[in-house]
Amino acid sequence: MLLTDLLVDADEFATRTGWSVKPQGACKAEVCVPLPDDVRAPDGRLDASVIAGRLGMSLIRHDDQTLWALGPETAVTGRALTTAVAPDLTLPDVEGRPFTLSSLRGQKVVMVAWASW
């Protein structure tokens, strides 16, 4: 997830990473990781470095600019998947129209990654 500020909007964080911040901590489906109280700034945004530490996400800064990227979590399972529940991903088609994976509930889905290269 790209960041231009180390304080992150909680909804944007949830959309991009699949982790929602709830009273019991950061949760992805059935998995919750407790967070310290100071994870939230007074304006409600989340401290990315605190979250990164708890979830085992690498936080990488680009040179001296105000641009960072937060990698995916490693702390719970040490594997690419923390839970078998699919994250609710929204991606655009080639015309830029968004498509949300959960709109296919009720069908079996084979999601195929390919590339032109």
Binding site: G18, S58, H62, L67, A84, Q107, A115
Partner: protein
């Protein structure tokens, strides 16, 4: 390539979603328009699928059941014979320039398992959760690829690189992509995407990277390029 299977299986409750891991969506457009598919054809410029689902090469696929639960994590996914790799197998390599012949000799060893993979999907379509190929949540997590802090950092570097590239600073992307390659050497999508910008199609060695498709494939042996399916 997936439309044929979609036509067969959509009446039986299976939808196909293809996702192009192209940093530049326009590079995927010709294939998408030629396929003119009935299924959703999406673009993932930031390789979110690597992060969220553990995709490491293409083609890779993930199965998601009717309730939104993953029942097979990312694995090689060939829906049929690949005309490109099949054509390597019948070429007379002695008639080609030696350097090209060397690449193709290695590429001939690439192994795909389209018959098994399609049989697995058909079985799941017919039997749902009772299919032997639909895994339990614990199996799905255990079979997803291992990830440590280096792997997480590689994803972050890849995303920084694609952001800088898309904003017109390709030179600034290269050091981040080099880092992504170093930190997650088993991820082919980061490397193939980066090589392709410097050396389209052949993904040969350039000054930008200390590697190339051929050198890296040869290191592991092309027969290991796609790991065998574990039904």
């Amino acid at each position: 390539m997936w439309q044929e299977l979609r036509t067969e299986l959509h009446p039986r409750g299976v939808e196909i979603v293809t996702v192009a891991l192209d940093v530049d969506a326009e590079q995927a457009r010709p294939s998408i328009e030629a396929a003119s598919a009935d299924h959703p054809s999406l673009i993932d410029e930031a390789h979110v699928l690597d992060e969220l689902f553990g995709v490491v090469n293409v083609p890779n696929a993930v199965w998601i059941d009717e309730d939104g639960v993953i029942v097979r994590p990312a694995e090689p996914a060939h829906p049929g014979r690949n005309p490109v790799t099949d054509s390597f197998k019948t070429m007379d390599l002695d008639t080609l320039p030696p350097d090209l012949a060397e690449v193709l000799r290695e590429a001939q060893k690439i192994r795909t398992e389209p018959e098994l993979y399609v049989a697995m999907i058909r079985d799941w379509a017919a039997n749902g959760a009772a299919s032997q190929y639909a895994l339990t949540p614990d199996q799905v997590i255990a079979r997803s690829r291992p990830r440590d802090l280096d792997g997480s950092a590689a994803a972050a570097h890849f995303e920084l690189g694609q952001h800088l590239h898309r904003n017109g600073d390709h030179a600034a992307a290269i050091p981040h992509w080099r880092e992504a390659h170093r930190l997650d050497p088993d991820n082919w999508t980061y490397r193939r995407n980066a090589w392709n910008f410097e050396s389209p199609t052949s993904q040969s060695r350039t000054d930008a990277y200390d590697s190339s498709w051929f050198e890296d494939v040869k290191k592991i042996g092309a027969e290991n390029y796609y790991p065998p399916l574990v039904p």
